[in-house]
């Protein structure tokens, strides 16, 4: 009848983008007559925020305010081909395609502005607030709006861009497994603190301390939502979730949320997150997708913490009170391992 404290660690890396490549993504960018930009995609926004990240990448690359860019996605009549939103590929693949499309549109925008200002386009810069001016001479400027009007109504020029990003397909060698799976990896390390009740077998995670290396946090708030939600999913996987509680027997499969257990909002664990950014050379502005990898280290860290608390090996998920109690019984009681790192 004791509450035992435990601490567990795990660290991981995660491959970003569809394994082996061969998964193209395309983007189209064009300007309206008054210099606002539309980005047409067929990406899926599942809540992860590809519309928002795509909008930021387009605005940054074009050099225009983010409010002047709108992402229209997933209408197969207007959005060019994309493989889909899975395998941490959205930001990496589509992000690169958007940057390429926006680069072409920017080039045309600067050409058009150069013609209006009678200067070489190479001497022009954007200020990110809707103006284009001569490098070092901010007074010699033209607005993006006037540039778009001139381009389309007098110069007969489109302000548009096409982008495709394709990681060439890699084969897998049948005998050695040689392959080029992906081009960049995200990283994470995590420590959980938890308690194990040796009477009920219940495990409660009390704190998570983590470090996630994400290349670049393209939008810190979107990164944070992923990391916080991912940690929640990690706790749920480790302690609660299963569609087949007697796997491989299929009996007693849950059919609703009364029987399919997940932590509730009140069970969100206090979490101290450190974000590291080592930009990946082939990722958009270096950003790696944080969405998938962030749940992964939580599962083994909790299992390692349970062992640390009571000396029970939990090698099969989820770690139910029943498994903990059976382990305690087999060991003849709790065997706390002492706080690690002391």
């Amino acid at each position: 009848m004791t509450i035992h404290h435990g601490r567990g660690f795990a660290c991981i890396n995660y491959p970003i983008g569809m394994n082996l490549g061969g998964d193209p993504s395309q983007a189209l960018v064009h300007a309206t007559p008054d210099g606002k930009f539309k980005v047409a995609l067929s990406s899926i926004d599942l809540g992860q925020g590809i519309k928002s990240v795509g909008r930021q990448l387009a605005a940054e690359t074009l050099g225009v305010p983010v409010e002047d860019v709108y992402v229209d996605t997933a209408d197969s009549d207007t959005g060019p081909h994309d493989m889909g939103s899975f395998a941490s590929r959205g930001t990496h693949r589509m992000g690169n395609a958007i940057i390429r499309a926006a680069t072409e549109a920017r080039r045309q925008m600067l050409e058009a502005a150069g013609e209006e200002l009678e200067v070489d386009a190479a001497d022009l810069v954007t200020d990110g607030r809707g103006n284009i001016h001569v490098k070092g001479a901010p007074s010699r400027s033209i607005t993006v709006e006037d540039t778009a009007i001139a381009a389309q109504f007098t110069q007969g020029r489109t302000l548009a861009g096409r982008g495709i990003f394709l990681v060439p397909l890699s084969e897998v060698d049948a005998d050695t497994g040689e392959m080029t799976p992906v081009s960049s990896f995200a990283h994470a390390a995590l420590i959980v603190d938890l308690t194990v009740d040796d009477e009920t077998g219940e495990v409660e995670v009390t704190a998570i301390n983590s470090a996630y290396e994400v290349g670049r946090a393209l939008n810190p708030k979107l990164v944070e939502q992923q990391l916080i939600g991912g940690a929640w999913m990690g706790v749920a996987h480790a302690l609660y979730e299963t569609t087949e509680p007697n796997y491989p027997d299929r009996a007693h499969g849950p059919e609703d949320f009364n029987h399919y257990l997940q932590p509730g909002p009140g069970d969100v664990v206090p979490h101290h997150i450190s974000v590291l950014e080592r930009p990946a050379p082939d990722a958009p502005f270096g950003g790696k997708g944080p969405g998938e990898m962030c749940a992964n280290p939580v599962l083994p860290a909790i299992a390692n913490g349970v062992f640390n608390a009571v000396g029970v090996e939990c090698d099969s998920l989820p770690i139910t009170p029943e498994k903990v109690l059976r382990g305690l019984r087999a060991n003849g009681g709790a065997r706390p391992q002492g706080t690690p790192g002391r």
Partner: protein
């Protein structure tokens, strides 16, 4: 919740002077989401909308003797009863769109069912209640068959055949083996040199993706002889392609709208709702909704698969892992879906973020009589990482070492050769470990705190592809005949040795530079500080990237006072590699492999392919 950004780390590789990137800008769709106005697929309303429910198998495995839907067809509200005969191309596999694997899964079952919940008929009615009542009125005469639910049981010679397309209960890899191999170095030698052997088995549970919005689609007639499909899919053109193929329709007649989805987590890739809804729309001329209820979402919808991983490590007494062997089983359920892909993804991930000189694995995509599994967040990696990181703690205990110190000692670093024969780059595992240890007061040795992903990588043997022992065991069908065990070292067959540095050059490894000049981005605005800038456009796929050589005469920083484990790394005590195959520019760097000639007969991508068994909607070809 506290979030801190460690901008001090890797600052030398990163420019941070952006207007929009890196800023916490509100989501584009936030107002619609928080006011409940964002249009999800089920928010599209139609007069006279029809609803679809399916007659499903109550058995794990059974032959269908007969189906009698005559009573159901006469019931009030029932508009149409669809069976396999109504589906132009009934059998499909999702990855046929990239030419990977054979068509193995019927949209509606014909002569047998292979899992509880498999659909046999789709009933379209004026209300959900009428459709459900009609489902109850269908009489199906089954002959129950023996079934198998455990992955290792399914590999045995006496196991019932789950999936007729793959009669050995395993997916075929490269038309050769019943599993995907990974061979790097010589694990037997590593085990022989080890002071400790640590072995264990790990089991992942099947897990529901649990999106708030259940999977589904609404197909409605559009003017001009087209069909509009509102869908929850995670891959818009995957679903277009599957629907065009299974309905044998020109995809120009399909107008798919999605992109605002109520959570997916991998469970909305399978594209089963769109073809059925579109088929019913074609058959009735009316808008049709096919949407799972929560019970279907949880028990018929494909979950994360129940993976099983066995790991055997050979460890030196100072904590260096000398050899690691994996046997992995992906429980695909009755049909392939995406499990075949996950096997290769996990293989590319082994042995985890560690540099281990000898690695071998056999990973299987196994068919069992359960709901097919599919993608879920972390697909192919989550269970594997659970196994690896549980195992690392056991290894730490075996050698009496701090678990974080053990990870840092074995962590991969820039320039290390990975088991899939590509050099590691852009590593940050060590720094992640250090940050988290530091902030929790987990005491690490000075050496571990000074270690760096950027220093010491690729030293000595760690930068090289080692001489590798290979075998030809586990050919398709062999296991069923002989009862061969699943582990890489189970067989007694002949072994061959591939020389040090061997590469099949099986990818055009020219990085992710654009294939065409006009796709070049502006590198000076891309946020990298030299020498990290992305590579320039490479119009021709020419030479595979050379293995990153260690910096010329890279002196080990930290000084001679550090224990060798953290400075010279495991390479120091590994046998010096034998003669490299060719003179190398620097001591440890192998020469760049020769240019790979383009084989015009095997292009990476084929468009508008029209040949038997190949989707006209081919978006690319995964060669096997």
């Amino acid at each position: 919740m506290v979030v801190e950004y460690r901008k001090d780390l890797f600052a030398d590789e990163r420019a941070d002077d952006f207007d929009v990137v890196g800023k916490p800008i509100l989501r584009q769709d936030i107002l619609g989401h928080v006011t409940g106005r964002s249009p999800f697929y089920d928010d599209h309303l139609f007069d006279g909308l029809l609803h679809m429910r399916c007659v499903r198998s109550p058995h794990h495995h059974a032959r269908i003797r007969s189906v009698d839907a005559s009573g159901a067809e006469r019931m009030a509200g029932v508009v149409k009863v669809l069976s396999a005969r109504d589906v132009p191309v009934n059998v499909n596999t999702l990855l046929s769109l990239i030419n990977f694997g054979r068509d193995d899964e019927p949209l509606l079952a014909t002569d047998k069912v292979s899992y509880v919940g498999q659909p046999i008929l789709a009933i379209v009615a004026t209300s959900v209640r009428a459709a459900e009542a009609a489902v109850q009125a269908v009489r199906v005469d089954y002959e129950e068959l023996p079934f198998v639910l455990d992955v290792e049981e399914a590999l045995k010679p006496e196991a019932p055949v789950v999936n007729a397309e793959y009669p050995n209960n395993t997916f075929d890899y490269a038309d050769t083996y019943d599993h995907q191999k990974l061979r790097f170095g010589d694990v037997d030698k590593g085990f022989a040199e080890a002071d400790h052997i640590v072995e264990a088995t790990y089991q992942m549970s099947p897990i529901e993706q649990a999106p708030i919005e259940t999977c589904g689609a609404i197909a409605a007639p559009e003017t001009n002889d087209r069909i509009t499909v509102y869908t929850s899919t995670q891959g818009l053109f995957f679903s277009v392609g599957v629907t065009a193929k299974q309905l044998d329709l020109n995809s120009a007649r399909l107008h798919f709208i999605g992109g605002t989805v109520g959570g997916g987590f991998g469970g909305k890739v399978d594209s089963h709702h769109e073809p059925l809804a579109a088929l019913a729309c074609l058959a009735t001329g009316k808008p049709v909704k096919y949407m799972w209820d929560r019970a279907e979402e949880m028990q018929v919808g494909a979950p994360r698969g129940g993976e099983r991983w066995k790991i055997k490590d050979g460890v030196a007494r100072d904590g260096r892992i000398l050899a690691r062997m994996f046997t992995g089983f992906f429980d695909a359920g009755a049909f392939t879906r995406l499990s075949s892909y996950a096997v290769q993804k996990s293989t590319g991930h082994l042995p985890g973020p560690y540099s281990i000189p000898n690695v071998a694995s056999n990973v299987y995509c196994v068919y069992t009589n359960r709901t097919p599994s599919t993608a879920m967040r972390g697909f192919g990696i989550t269970a594997c990482d659970f196994a690896i990181e549980r195992h690392m703690d056991k290894v730490a205990r075996a050698v009496g070492m701090d678990p974080i110190e053990l990870r840092i000692l074995n962590a991969y670093r820039d320039g290390d050769m990975k088991a899939h024969r590509r050099a590691a780059k852009n590593c940050a595992l060590i720094e992640s470990c250090q940050v988290v240890a530091q902030k929790t007061g987990w005491a690490l040795s000075g050496e571990a705190m000074r270690a760096s992903s950027k220093i010491g990588g690729g030293e000595g043997a760690l930068g090289l592809i080692p001489e590798t022992v290979i075998d030809e065991e586990g050919r398709i069908g062999e296991r069923r005949r002989t009862g061969l065990g699943p582990e890489p070292d189970a067989g007694q067959g002949a072994r061959r040795r591939l020389p040090q540095g061997h590469s099949a050059h099986n990818s055009s490894a020219f990085g992710n530079a654009p294939q065409r000049e006009d796709m070049a981005a502006e590198q000076e605005r891309s946020g990298f500080k030299a020498p990290m800038a992305p590579t320039a456009p490479a119009p021709k796929p020419a030479e595979p990237a050379p293995v990153a050589p260690p910096a010329a005469a890279a002196p080990v920083t930290g000084g001679p006072s550090l224990p060798s484990a953290y400075t010279a790394r495991p390479a120091a005590s590994l046998p010096t590699p034998p003669e490299p195959p060719r003179p190398a520019p620097t001591a440890a760097a192998p020469p760049p492999p020769p240019p790979q000639p383009e084989d015009p007969a095997r292009p990476h991508f084929q468009r508008a392919v029209k040949r038997p068994g190949v989707s006209r909607f081919l978006s690319g070809t995964r060669r096997r």
